[in-house]
Symmetry: C2
Subunit: 216 residues, 2 copies
């Protein structure tokens, strides 16, 4: 419980939103949250203000906080930006790769291979996350890494949905292979191009996304 109730609440509520426990559009009542978590309204408000600043909820003056519903189009836009940032991270990684980062990428990559081979989409979901994080870190840009991690968190639920799509696991992994090759070869432009394509939602993948969002 992190020494600070406000911080803790922020993470707690954030997780609840991202795990869809609080649905988009739902109103977050300060008093309800306060009693639910056994604290007063003050830290709850502070948590809500932070979530508002991050963009997860919207606080309408005198009218309470509601969970923001991104909607398919906005989620698409977010993936578009994510693709761009990951592309940059990949190109930096290709240029700046050092031993430690190389090993981290190799390790997470082979874990992805195992889960993909086993067809375990939940395990792959987790390993895939670690793989991408290893690339963020390899870029050696703290700011970029933070931005990537933040956006990654917000898109996490949708990434998970995407993996459920048929054949996505093996497709995803073979894309990973090409990305790793490009980064290890020091080919920044290629790594950027491949990561953009890997993360972005082109063509039928958008309708897949819409379908899986509607399915919830």
């Amino acid at each position: 419980m992190s020494e600070n109730v406000g911080r803790w609440l922020r993470d707690e509520i954030e997780n609840s939103i991202l795990s869809n426990e609080f649905s988009p559009g739902e109103r977050l009542d300060e008093t309800v949250l306060a009693t639910r978590f056994g604290v007063s309204r003050t830290p709850v408000r502070e948590a809500l203000m932070q979530l508002d600043a991050i963009g997860l909820i919207e606080i309408r003056p005198r009218r309470g906080a509601i969970v923001i519903d991104p909607g398919p189009h906005r989620v698409y836009e977010m993936f578009e930006v994510m693709a761009e940032l990951e592309g940059l991270a990949g190109s930096l990684a290709a240029r700046r790769l050092d031993k430690a980062s190389r090993e981290a990428i190799t390790a997470t990559h082979s874990r992805c291979e195992q889960s993909a081979a086993a067809g375990d989409s939940d395990a792959y979901y987790y390993d895939n996350e670690e793989f991408h994080k290893a690339i963020y870190a390899a870029g050696r840009s703290e700011f970029l890494e933070e931005q990537c991690l933040q956006l990654h968190r917000r898109l996490r639920p949708y990434r998970r949905l995407q993996l459920r799509v048929r054949n996505r696991l093996s497709t995803s992994f073979s894309e990973h292979c090409a990305i790793v090759d490009a980064i290890f070869a020091g080919d920044g432009d290629e790594a950027r191009r491949l990561l953009r394509a890997h993360v972005g939602i082109q063509g039928e993948r958008f309708s897949d996304l819409v379908a899986s969002m509607a399915a919830r």
Copy 2:
């Protein structure tokens, strides 16, 4: 005063930080701020929490808030990301340009031309900002536009410093011309490339930045 003291304070303190009224590293005392703005500590705290979430200040538990000092290297990283986002906005703008956006870009572009010709770096600073915002808007991606605007705000002070460098005005404007041409020609890749180069801090421009940051 925006109907909401917390919001108002957030903007007020944010501006004070960005305009360097509160120096990096400086400690922000809640009580002092409260009396200074004639309010109680509660809205001050809420404002600070938001600024912390945005990344402008850091709140260390039980030890108060301090203004974050990005340092040259981190500022460089931020420009790197900004360049990438603006590149994306430019490429989208080239593909999706409509009449209204085209007119907005033309209008702000010609205003830049005038201030550049007049050698008025303060006017150019403002017009340049509007020009870039017109491109963000032309990309037709709300999320991307928000991200660009947010990062732009944080980098605003440094952009201003950069314009003070000798010849930067005319160089900047001629780069604008090429960017406008690419966007109007519908050449997304070229617009992206030019914007990345325009916004990013390559070569000697990094030392210019460091010098101007040190000069404050």
